[in-house]
């Protein structure tokens, strides 16, 4: 398409961000992620006419089934998990471009069949040799698929993009190994490592909040901020993911990716623009300067039986497919420091865990107390320091805790919250993270994806923590399901004369 500089008729038109024609190949097409997230996201994009007009999807998985059966399963998944009302005409348009290949990922013949289907889509649907490969598969299958794709890559036609799901590696060495395999066949600009938190509106709003508002940036530093707390809490258990979770734990499942990305977005310097490399350059600087002051500044935990939302739930070791003596961490809390001028000596307390009291992801920026409140001491009994609270999920939004006078005689001050609820102000329906990320990958915009050097820095920190953990054996379980984690997590913060936010 011509640009507005060449074509004066384009100027001023609000052109939708519609990608070029392409085929999307989903490896792991019969899996949970495909049915719960990817297809509902594709359908929502189709409803909004954001998919290319010439588009097709090839599902690849080991499950033996026909295209018709797979399409029926995806239709049911869209009806069950989609955020939009189901429209048969939208679906049938999308379904026309569906193909399914049942194969083992290592099977050469099966991979040849995928290539044949792609060429057929090029012929029938005009997808022009442009490919988006989505690896919605367990990590063990990454290397095989990447090599198969690389060997069959036709570099003379169209563009290729590869979306890789987390976890990206198990430690720094394995992540670097995966990066080496990827770079053998694909350029960094072709690799899109997903961290779906980055697709969430509130996470992106963090950038708007910081860099579009003149009032925050001048006080966004060690002089005015006492500390930062980031919580990624889940109330659910392992929910059928025990196989993966046993070897990953909270530190690899959440801390290594989502949590450290939230730290990076909170602490990063203003990028010069909102392009992929500018944003990621600033994030990687933060990740590179992160450290934890020592083993005592990291706490791990594992839940025992308890009550969640009034219901008795088993302990981690009693969960299906979990080792009865498992030493896997289901909770991690840490005190981190960002070693730069902006943040020196300002602690970032972070925690993530399963079976906590409630599902909540928040970033709390706690400001320093007012230096000299000129009121009687008792007046401020109910007063807490100002906190800017960014709710990532649920109820995405921002609130600011401020002190206000209680109406009436005398001077009594209480903390009140000024709330901005995202869904309440812009009621257009928040897109699911996967909608944004799939669309961005099709458009070749990698801003909200993780770059190889970010992944490397994230693993470097995790490796340091895990190395210390390997030297001792904690007593697990050490917290009850339905609570806010082990006592030692509270002590981690209390040692500094602070406390976790009250919920």
């Amino acid at each position: 398409m011509s640009t507005a500089a060449e074509n004066p008729l384009l100027e001023g038109l609000k052109l939708r961000r519609t990608p070029e024609p392409c085929a999307l190949v989903i490896f792991g097409a019969s899996g949970d992620l495909t049915s719960r997230k990817l297809f509902p996201a594709l359908y929502s994009l189709a409803v909004r006419r954001l998919l290319p007009e010439r588009f097709g999807v090839i599902g690849v998985a080991r499950t033996e089934q026909t295209t018709r059966q797979w399409a029926a399963a995806m239709k049911a998944a869209v009806k069950e998990h989609g955020r939009d009302d189901f429209d048969e005409s939208v679906w049938s348009n999308l379904a026309d471009g569906l193909r399914y290949v049942a194969t083992d990922f290592a099977d050469d013949e099966g991979q040849d069949a995928v290539v044949r289907e792609l060429y057929e889509l090029d012929e029938e649907r005009g997808t022009e040799g442009n490919r988006v490969y989505y690896l919605a598969v367990p990590p063990a299958a990454f290397e095989t698929i990447v090599n198969e794709l690389g060997e069959r890559r036709d570099s003379t036609r169209g563009w290729t993009r590869l979306i890789v799901e987390k976890p990206f590696g198990h430690d720094r060495a394995s992540a670097n190994g995966l990066n080496a395999v990827l770079s053998e066949h694909f350029g960094e600009h072709e690799v899109f490592r997903i961290d779906h938190y980055l697709g969430k509106e509130t996470v992106q709003n963090m950038l708007a909040l910081r860099f579009a508002n003149g009032i925050f940036e001048p006080i966004w530093n060690r002089q005015f901020i006492d500390h930062v707390q980031i919580t990624v809490a889940e109330s659910i258990g392992v929910e059928g993911r025990a196989g993966f979770y046993e070897s990953a734990g909270a530190i690899r499942d959440i801390f290594q990716n989502h949590l450290l990305q939230l730290v990076a977005l909170t602490a990063m310097e203003p990028p010069i623009d909102f392009t992929a490399d500018s944003v990621r350059n600033e994030k990687v600087k933060v990740l590179r300067s992160l450290h934890t002051p020592g083993p005592k500044s990291v706490v791990r935990g594992q839940y025992g039986p308890g009550l969640v939302e009034g219901e008795e739930v088993p302990g981690y070791r009693e969960e299906e497919s979990v080792d009865g003596e498992s030493m896997t961490d289901t909770f991690v809390a840490a005190k981190l420091y960002v070693d730069n001028w902006r943040w020196a000596d300002t602690p970032f307390y972070v925690r993530a865990g399963k079976r906590l009291a409630r599902r909540e992801t928040t970033i709390a920026i706690q400001f320093q107390r007012a230096p000299h409140p000129p009121f009687a001491e008792i007046a401020g009994d109910g007063l807490r320091p100002n906190v800017l609270l960014i709710h990532v999920q649920p109820d995405e939004g921002v609130s600011l805790a401020i002190g206000a006078k209680v109406p009436g005689q005398g001077m009594s001050i209480r903390t009140v919250h000024m709330d901005f609820v995202y869904g309440g102000t812009f009621r257009t329906g928040l897109p699911e993270a996967y909608e944004r990320l799939i669309l961005d990958a099709m458009l070749g915009d990698a801003t909200l994806f993780t770059r190889a050097d970010e992944v490397d820095e994230q693993w470097a920190l995790v490796d340091t923590i895990v190395a210390a953990w390997n030297r001792d054996r904690p007593v697990f379980p050490n917290y009850e399901a339905g609570t806010w984690g082990p006592r030692s997590a509270d002590e981690l913060v209390q040692r500094d004369g602070r406390s976790w936010r009250r919920h």
Binding site: S2, L10, E11, G424
Partner: protein, 280 residues
């Protein structure tokens, strides 16, 4: 619940708004939305507004002039609440319908002013064709940041575009008719570069849409393009030099969608203003 106030004051309207606010609901506003809707346009205005407040939480002030009635202001004050997602929280939008009776109908600016939400943009949707010389229009232009019209509601085309062009220097203007042509403009833009040689544009559709499309082509291509117009309720056919242009895909946006889009626009639209100037 809504409160109906007869021969009331603005202070009473403010009090009613305070009373109507549900303590469990959060008042969230992105603008003040003023609607000037003479009686003949009132029903259409209400239809468009239904559902809109969910997308643009605002204080909506619907002004209906009734100059032949005895002086005074009648008001209907309502706070509409909408649940937020699956949570128990609600947000509230305020709707104030004012009937401006007698001389009050000639002073809408001073009536709207005390009801504006501080520091938020003020949009005015003017239903029907404005009386270009009227003090009502002049007063509201001075109060609002953006005037939203639909030139397909006007009877005096294309001459009225001349009056509109004069207004553009004093207030940013949006035209829903222009917004409606956007899908067709995208289709025509895709004809580049062949379309640069266009001599005639044939449009079967509303006169406003046809005039604006032709004005847009003339101003963007900087050349004369003859317009052949046949009237229809919506744009149904477009041809350039006799060749029919493929219609844009998908459903046409609803009136609420079109207004909603305009409420997201700030500042002047020089492409539209050039199209208006060339439409005459």
């Amino acid at each position: 619940m809504a409160q109906t106030l007869t021969d009331t004051s603005l202070a009473a309207v403010e009090r009613a708004l305070n009373e109507e606010r549900d303590e469990g609901a959060q008042r969230t506003s992105v603008m003040t939305h003023v609607v000037w809707a003479p009686a003949t346009w009132l029903k259409a205005a209400e239809r468009t507004l239904a559902g809109l407040s969910e997308r643009h939480p605002s204080r909506t002030i619907l002004l209906t002039p009734a100059p032949r009635r005895k002086d005074g202001i009648d008001a209907l004050v309502e706070v509409r609440t909408f649940p937020v997602g699956s949570s128990s929280r609600c947000i509230a939008s305020e709707v104030v319908e004012l009937t401006l009776k007698g001389e009050r109908a000639r002073a809408p600016g001073s009536i709207v002013n005390p009801l504006l939400i501080t520091d938020l943009p003020v949009f005015c949707r003017w239903r029907g064709e404005p009386d270009w010389e009227s003090p009502e229009l002049e007063q509201l232009v001075q109060v609002v940041d953006r005037l939203v019209v639909d030139s397909s509601e006007w009877g005096g085309l294309p001459a009225s575009y001349e009056r509109l062009a004069d207004l553009c220097d004093r207030v940013a203007v949006s035209d829903i008719a222009w917004s409606r042509t956007e899908r067709w403009r995208a289709v025509l833009a895709a004809q580049w570069p062949a379309i640069r040689r266009a001599k005639a544009l044939e449009v079967r559709g509303p006169q406003a849409d046809a005039l604006l499309l032709a004005g847009w082509l003339r101003s963007r291509l900087r050349k004369k393009v003859e317009l052949v117009h046949r009237d229809a309720r919506t744009v149904r056919r477009l041809a350039v030099d006799g060749s029919v242009v493929e219609a844009p895909g998908g459903a046409a946006p609803t009136p609420s969608d079109l207004l909603s889009d305009q409420l997201d626009v700030f500042g002047r639209d020089p492409i539209y203003e050039s199209a208006v100037s060339a439409a005459r």
